[in-house]
């Protein structure tokens, strides 16, 4: 039954996109349009003393916090609403929005912009996790610069450490990562029907609606958001679009004319959210027989200038912090700190990649300490169905890691190669094991999202799908159509599914957290069943279906105890490398992956996800360096923030292991983030094996390897 749905079909959007006919936000013609440019803070941490704006020519506007309507709030509604729409009296990072300058001529806007003077009283900034914890320049948030702290405890770690024969410790660091979706951030705001309309390249139309309506002090229905074809997102268009949509909406509300706000690439790299940098210290207690008896994980992530969604990212980092292992006694501590860097936010994996990177590197290093090869050692601790998780619930998945390892080993010849390369100074091979919880953490789907989908019969053999989830490259418009078509016995091309418009679609939740296929797809499957029952009512028949939380998964959000996720995707990556001993450059010579995504909803689309996710993860591991210098991202052009080209990595050999999830459509689980998670630790493990030196930080640059080799 599942063989049918996984069979590859031609994506519904492929021909239009390849032909250049698909319209992205910059391809629309809104008639007489005004252009907006952000007036940004040039200081990382300062009090704003005054702003001098020259007299504006007719038709030009300066829009700032004073333009927020009386009933509205100068706050962006993310998880936490601490991020201001427009800075008022203080700035916390370089690039913070102070105002919008708007007008019909872009050259003139640039001229006026150069005449706007902002007077600051500087304060000493803190950029790094260490500087934040030391409250450099005085605490910016609370009295300790900590946005939040969580502690997860399983078993009795204290006793385990007290009785340990030895303890192995390591501290692992990951850096900022830029999404570098090919289409920069962009949107157009219009005044139509007596209200604000936003046309946006975005993942979450209802997030934007919530933030905009709150800032304007109007009901959600008084703001219309229309997603337009989106040229990649990867989490970068999850919350960040709120940060520009809200000031734009305030401007449209004031000016009542169409306004375009589209970023240049340099603006985009310089002034958008990145993946949270992390510092994770792991201690492992071993008994005399070298068995792991306990683990202590201390995670700190850099949230930047505002909290926004940072604590949810932190939670996921902690929930994945112990990886795929069943450790009897463990303490996982997590803190998120405030710094004067651009606020960090969602990026494919949402905290999990940082946690998984650290645990995977650490487990390899413990393996080395006890004289074992990484895979042999890690396999001893694989979590199994019925084992206790870090949140003290049983693992409910049928974990197929052993079967997956056998497949990975057969494809890559890992077991033989790692022995052969042990004394080879040129070649190395690494392996990583990961899982990724699908959908929102805990009871988020039930308590916060409450996703609703609607379907309608629109013709003899046609139906329409109404969901708020977006196509952003991942293939959703094809996959959701396939799911609906299967239940209705129609062709997938007979299902209508337009880019969502909040006037038309119900809120089925955001396009995030690998939830769209697994959670929304399941809602569609169930909704389609209902519609099928009403099919005979004729054209116009409608059905709705709302999320119901399966009762066997329990969660307490206050204590973070219970089933953190109803199910997990599982993954293994093997990466083989060669090193040029003259230049310390590493060349990847082989990449193999095995994934359990339940049942793939389309083999080709999933192949694309795997290849794209793994290569993005390998970029994170090797070349995507992003440093902060004087509060600015040092690599802020596309020439300097480098992502992989077609020549950086070889073809990936992948295999899927079927493992259907009962609440996923036809057994599907989340996949979009899982495919990213395993690449970085596998790459770093390969370099570690090659050099014989422990690797702690990514990206693993030739510069770093040179220092290790010295």
């Amino acid at each position: 039954m599942n063989d049918e749905i996984r069979k590859s079909v031609r994506r519904v959007d492929a021909v239009a996109k390849a032909s250049g006919l698909a319209k992205y936000i910059s391809d629309y013609d809104f008639g007489d349009i005004l252009y907006a440019r952000l007036v940004r803070s040039t200081r990382p941490r300062a009090k704003i003393l005054s702003v001098t704006v020259p007299e504006l020519p007719e038709g030009y506007y300066y829009v700032d916090y004073r333009d927020i309507p009386e009933k509205g709030k100068n706050r962006i509604q993310m998880i936490k609403d601490d991020w201001k729409v427009f800075a008022e009296d203080e700035v916390r990072y370089v690039g913070e929005t102070i105002a919008l300058l708007i007008g019909p001529d872009r050259e003139r806007i640039l001229n006026i912009l150069s005449e706007i003077k902002i007077f600051y009283e500087d304060r000493e900034p803190a950029y790094t996790i260490e500087e934040a914890l030391a409250c450099k320049g005085g605490a910016m948030v609370g009295d300790d610069n900590i946005y939040g702290e969580y502690n997860l405890v399983k078993g009795d770690p204290d006793t385990a450490f007290n009785n340990a024969a030895r303890v192995v410790e390591g501290t692992y660091r990951t850096g900022f990562q830029e999404h570098l979706y090919m289409e920069p951030q962009g949107m157009v705001g219009t005044w139509e029907g007596g209200r604000v309309n936003i046309y946006a390249s975005a993942q979450c139309p209802y997030y934007i609606q919530k933030s905009v309506s709150s800032a304007l002090g109007v009901d959600g229905k008084n703001v219309r958001i229309k997603q337009v074809t989106t040229g990649g997102a990867f989490g970068g268009k999850e919350h960040f679009p709120d940060v520009i949509a809200v000031p734009l909406a305030v401007a449209v509300n004031k000016i009542k004319k169409p306004i375009e706000l589209i970023f240049d690439r340099i603006e985009d790299i310089s002034y958008t959210c990145k993946r949270h940098p992390s510092r994770i210290t792991i201690k492992t207690a071993l008994d005399k027989e070298n068995n792991i008896t306990g683990m202590d994980i201390d995670t700190v992530i850099n949230g930047g200038g505002y909290e926004s969604s940072t604590l949810i990212v932190l939670q996921r980092a902690l929930l994945h912090g112990i990886g795929v292992y069943n450790i009897p006694n463990a303490h996982v501590r997590g803190r998120a700190v405030a710094t004067n860097t651009f606020p960090s936010d969602a990026y494919r994996g949402f905290g999990a990649p940082q946690g998984l990177y650290a645990i995977e590197m650490h487990m390899s290093q413990v393996a080395k300490e006890v004289g074992m090869f990484p895979a042999d050692f890690k396999r001893k601790y694989f979590i199994k169905n019925g084992d206790m998780t870090i949140t003290n619930a049983t693992m409910k998945d049928n974990v197929k890691l052993e079967e997956m390892f056998a497949a990975a080993d057969e494809m890559s010849d890992y077991t033989r190669k790692i022995r052969e390369y042990e004394n080879d100074p040129y070649r190395g091979i690494g392996i990583s094991f990961v899982n990724h919880g699908g959908g929102f953490t805990g009871n988020g789907e039930q308590e916060i999202i409450k996703g609703l989908v609607r379907m309608k019969r629109t013709g003899e053999n046609r139906a329409a799908l109404y969901v708020s989830n977006v196509e952003m490259g991942q293939g959703l418009q094809t996959v959701l159509r396939k799911i609906a078509a299967k239940e209705l016995g129609l062709k997938y091309t007979d299902i209508e599914y337009d880019n969502p418009d909040t006037d038309i679609v119900p809120d089925s939740g955001p396009t995030v957290a690998s939830r769209s296929t697994m959670v929304v797809g399941y809602l569609i499957q169930e909704c389609a069943k209902k519609l099928k029952g009403k099919w005979d009512e004729g054209v116009g028949a409608e059905a709705e279906h709302r999320y119901i939380h399966p009762s066997e998964y329990k969660w307490d959000q206050d204590t973070l105890q219970g089933d953190a996720y109803p199910t997990y995707g599982w993954g293994i990556n093997v990466v083989e490398v060669e090193m040029d001993t003259v230049t310390y450059e590493v060349k990847t010579t082989g990449i193999w992956s095995v994934f359990d995504v339940g049942i793939p909803m389309d083999d080709t689309i999933m192949d694309g996800q795997v290849s794209g996710g793994v290569i993005q993860g390998l970029g994170y591991a090797s070349i995507e360096k992003c440093e902060v210098l004087d509060g600015r991202f040092r690599q802020h052009t596309m020439a300097d923030y480098v992502i992989p080209t077609s020549m950086d990595f070889p073809e990936i050999k992948n295999k899927f292991i079927d493992n259907p999830y009962k609440y996923g459509p036809s057994g599907a689980k989340g996949a979009g983030e899982l495919v990213f998670d395993a690449a970085a630790p596998a790459y770093a493990d390969a370099v570690q094996q090659l050099t014989g030196k422990n690797i702690y930080d990514i990206p693993v640059t030739p510069e770093m390897i040179m220092e290790l080799e010295e």
């Binding site: 959007d13 390849a18 250049g20 990649g232 997102a233 690439r265 596309m638 080209t645 077609s646 990936i652």
Partner: protein, 157 residues
Amino acid sequence: MAKTSFILNGEEVSVEADPLKRLLDVLREDFEALGVKEGCGEGECGACSILLNGKLVNSCMIPLGAVEGADIVTPEGLRETEKGKVIIESFADTGAVQCGFCTPGMMMAAEALLEKNNNPEESEIREALSGNLCRCTGYDLIVKGVKTSAERGKDLW
């Protein structure tokens, strides 16, 4: 302002504009060639790729004033040709298209390669696409799309 004339997708055209205006902006604004995308504006990403006198170039790096009399092909022109159709169909069938923002540029790069070499090795395809960045696909399926184009279009190139 000055008048600049060139051949665009087989037709003689001319435009009154500042010679320093980027060809990318001219093509998009004055000729509605919206398949030419701006991904970076600094010659790094290849989303604005076009053919200039038969050669692959980044249109963000060329001012209008430099193309007097030139022969320019954009995705709008390529998609109307047999070769263009083969590339589009091959890309669609192999799963080479995800978010699609890089895809028209990739098509131009594929066409430029196949004109020179109608039976490219994988390494030659990867080299030919190296100036066209993609963040979604990891390139494997795009490489496959070009290979498939070469196979299907054996008699065309």
